[in-house]
């Protein structure tokens, strides 16, 4: 025989909504049904819940009943087809587009137009850049020329073979007479004719030539090392980071 669960009103009320919605487990639903027979107030509350559900359903369905949904599917499918056609159209347009010229072609065109002065501002800018590069190059060359360039007011030292040690020392006292030589495969320095290059106080090259000094470095080995401060002073050489 099935055992009946005795339920107090407070507990019964907690289950009323779930009972009305049919969401209680069968055993619990049976217990609620039994308890309801003994509590008219609880039964009244259950009726109220049921009525409210019906009214809410009526109210919520009302706007749905006033709408004609027959055209919605057509409208949705039309929008989907239109969207698909738009996407396809974009793809076709992209395929039909002429390929863009390469960056080299565009650069060539730009330079051509510039040189023909079809782009006056660009021509002016290019000229400015060229002058700047030439100026910087000249300045760098002066740095390693050891002050031998024209217009240098410093007395030319070791300009001729047989320059004295005193003269060399005097020259190197001028800070402008030293240069930082970055490791490169070949480094040519114009005049003076008597030079000595040292690295870490060890002579690595000395030569006399009317064309200048040629210092040779092993690029692969030198690249990772610090730059070398090169002096005309005999034996004076520092490593700098």
């Amino acid at each position: 025989m099935k055992e009946t669960v005795i339920m107090e009103c407070n507990e019964l009320r907690e289950h009323l909504h779930a009972y009305a919605d049919g969401q209680l487990a069968p055993e619990l639903a049976d217990a609620v049904a039994v308890a309801l027979t003994d509590c008219p107030d609880c039964q009244s509350e259950l009726d109220e819940i049921t009525t409210l559900s019906e009214l809410a359903r009526e109210g919520l369905l009302a706007p749905l009943d006033e709408v004609d949904f027959s055209a919605m599917a057509d409208a949705v499918m039309a929008r989907i087809r239109h969207e698909a056609a738009s996407v396809e159209g974009v793809k076709v347009a992209r395929v039909n587009e002429e390929p863009k010229p390469s960056i080299l072609d565009r650069l060539g065109q730009f330079l051509g137009e510039t040189l023909r002065f079809e782009r006056p501002m660009a021509a002016f800018a290019v000229a400015l850049v060229v002058l700047l590069v030439v100026g910087l190059n000249q300045s760098a060359t002066e740095g390693i020329d050891d002050g031998s360039q024209a217009g240098d007011s410093t007395p030319q030292i070791a300009a001729t073979p047989g320059a004295t040690e005193t003269q060399l020392a005097a020259k190197t006292a001028d800070p402008r007479k030293s240069s930082v030589l970055r490791p490169t495969k070949h480094r040519r320095v114009r005049a003076p004719e008597l030079h000595m290059a040292t690295r870490n106080n060890v002579e690595i090259e000395s030569s006399q030539s009317p064309r200048g000094v040629r210092l040779e470095f092993d690029t692969d080995k030198e690249r990772a090392r610090p730059a070398i401060v090169w002096h005309v002073e005999e034996g004076s050489e520092e490593a700098a980071n």
Binding site: H17, E48, L55, A56, L60, V67, A75, M77, I80, E83
Partner: protein, 192 residues
């Protein structure tokens, strides 16, 4: 045919399968949208937007949740976006009764005590529906949504919880407060 089968056919390029999904769910989607937007034209627009968006994202649909749950969330998000854009003031948020000034231990008046059942039966159906609309306007979006899922769709608590991404206990609590607020709102209109 099951939703999963229709989705599979859609992905295979069967246009009629997607049309079938639209026809199956158009009333529900409109009901969701109308429940939030409370405007017929806006709800119709959003319903179409929702189906178009679903179609666009169908390849991403993992099938972890039911198709309806996915569709429901897309619809709700579109409604929220539209409301945000329109910046309409919805001052009807009585979430779970707390914002409504209810005390948890308070009991609302019973339908019998405020004489609702009698007047409700006496009203013509059209008039009754109008009163219900006014009462529903007073509810928050959450409360209208849960009433829609329960009273109209007849969904089980667990399914509602999955659709709304909340706990089952939250569903029960929210449903309780939704009905309570609806009762209070409807009492005013039926006794006016």
């Amino acid at each position: 045919m099951e939703d999963a089968d229709l989705v599979e056919k859609c992905l295979a390029g069967d246009e009629s399968a997607f049309r079938a999904l639209v026809e199956n769910y158009q009333r529900k989607v409109f009901g969701i949208a109308f429940g939030i937007l409370r405007n017929r034209e806006d709800a119709l627009d959003v319903s179409q937007d929702a189906f178009v968006k679903v179609h666009r994202n169908l390849p991403k649909f993992q099938g972890n949740s039911s198709f309806y749950t996915w569709l429901y969330r897309i619809t709700v998000n579109l409604c929220i976006d539209r409301k945000r854009r329109a910046k309409r003031a919805y001052n009807v948020d009585y979430d779970d009764g707390i914002a409504h000034g209810e005390m948890p231990h308070q009991k609302g008046p019973t339908l019998a005590s405020v004489s609702i059942v009698g007047p409700a039966k006496q009203l013509a159906r059209k008039e009754l529906r109008e009163k219900m609309q006014l009462a529903l306007e007073k509810l928050s979006d959450d409360h209208r949504q849960i009433l829609l899922l329960r009273e109209v769709e007849g969904m089980a608590y667990e399914d509602i919880a999955q659709t709304l991404d909340v706990a089952t206990g939250t569903v029960m609590s929210r449903l309780f407060h939704a009905r309570k607020n609806f009762k209070q709102a409807i009492s005013r209109y039926l006794n006016a």
